[in-house]
Symmetry: C2
Subunit: 197 residues, 2 copies
């Protein structure tokens, strides 16, 4: 009889299922919410529903958006001749935070991983190839992991065959790490010193 309520147990279990949240933190968060006004918890609950209801993929770049095409794809201020390819939507956030890139994005939603059976057909490479009209340069900004290197080389080969200039961000990002945990300055540097593949 450790928890005296099924509802508490349930919320602790759900928090524990999130990445980087252990059982103890989950318990702390749950008891914290119990002490908050009803309104805050109702807001939280509603925000989760809205999140899944309102957020969809941009049909151009496949980033998360509420309007299709997304604000970046439809902005007049962005350079539509340059395309930055990333693995996941949060990589877009990381690059936007540098305020150093003004082109468009393309989100692959994954990375080629032969060991896990994820091939070029399982990520949005075909969609990338289909939107190259008017694009002068493609910057590959994938994580410098084994799988990222593999995917970078695969895409570079495809694009070069189509006579598109392909660059990749410099390895200012430490090898084996990921964009998500890199500071803005390092990512700015990596964008700046991108090299031809």
């Amino acid at each position: 009889m450790i928890y005296t309520s099924q509802s508490i147990e349930k919320v602790i279990e759900l928090f524990s299922s999130l990445p980087s949240i252990g059982r103890k933190t989950a318990q702390r968060l749950t008891f914290h919410l119990l002490r908050q006004p009803n309104e805050l918890v109702e807001n939280f609950s509603k925000a989760l529903i809205e999140l899944k209801k309102n957020v969809k993929y941009c049909s151009v770049c496949y980033n998360y958006t509420e309007n299709d095409p997304c604000d970046i794809c439809s902005s007049h201020k962005r350079d539509k001749s340059i395309l930055c390819v990333v693995e996941e939507p949060n990589d877009v956030v990381v690059i936007e935070k540098t305020h150093d890139f003004f082109g468009l994005y393309h989100v692959l939603h994954g990375i080629m991983n032969p060991l896990e059976g994820i091939t070029q057909d399982d990520i949005r490479i075909k969609e990338l190839i289909n939107r190259l009209n008017g694009i002068e340069e493609v910057i590959l900004a994938l994580n410098p992991t084994v799988e990222g290197e593999l995917t970078t080389h695969y895409i570079a080969k495809l694009l070069k065959a189509l006579d598109i200039k392909v660059t990749r961000i410099a390895s200012g990002v430490p090898m084996g790490s990921s964009l998500e945990f890199t500071d803005e300055a390092t990512i700015s540097r990596a964008l700046e010193s991108r090299i031809a593949v």
Copy 2:
């Protein structure tokens, strides 16, 4: 234009408002939820509402519960002559996990803190005094902080005037720390070597 969606921004903000969750973790959790099936996120949303709707205070011990009195207060297996007084509901969880205590609880919901203007009347001491019928021993299991010591001595004085045996858990719990972060073995030891005040 760092986040391309208000709904994402909103959930990140709400996660950031929780204890021990920074902006970066909040962003990570939000993007994680976006990748989950609708059903899981709906469950999460519903669980938060149920949490606030179903969980109330036990009218006897003031622990969180869905049934009143709570499962501990109404259990036939618990020793109703011994009462363990704690600061917060999560302290009950910590003590239950030791499987070393079979009496009842009383949750004060706070601690006396003259600097912050929290007096004996702001926590559930009166309710403790009103439920001493049949109680042979009261164990004070408050955090060994300055405020915990103050409250321990205040309650001990009250109870001794009423001829109730009062004990406190031993300082196996490091001074200045809190029960929440103490391992079960240390708390077992502290319960076992409780001393008369």
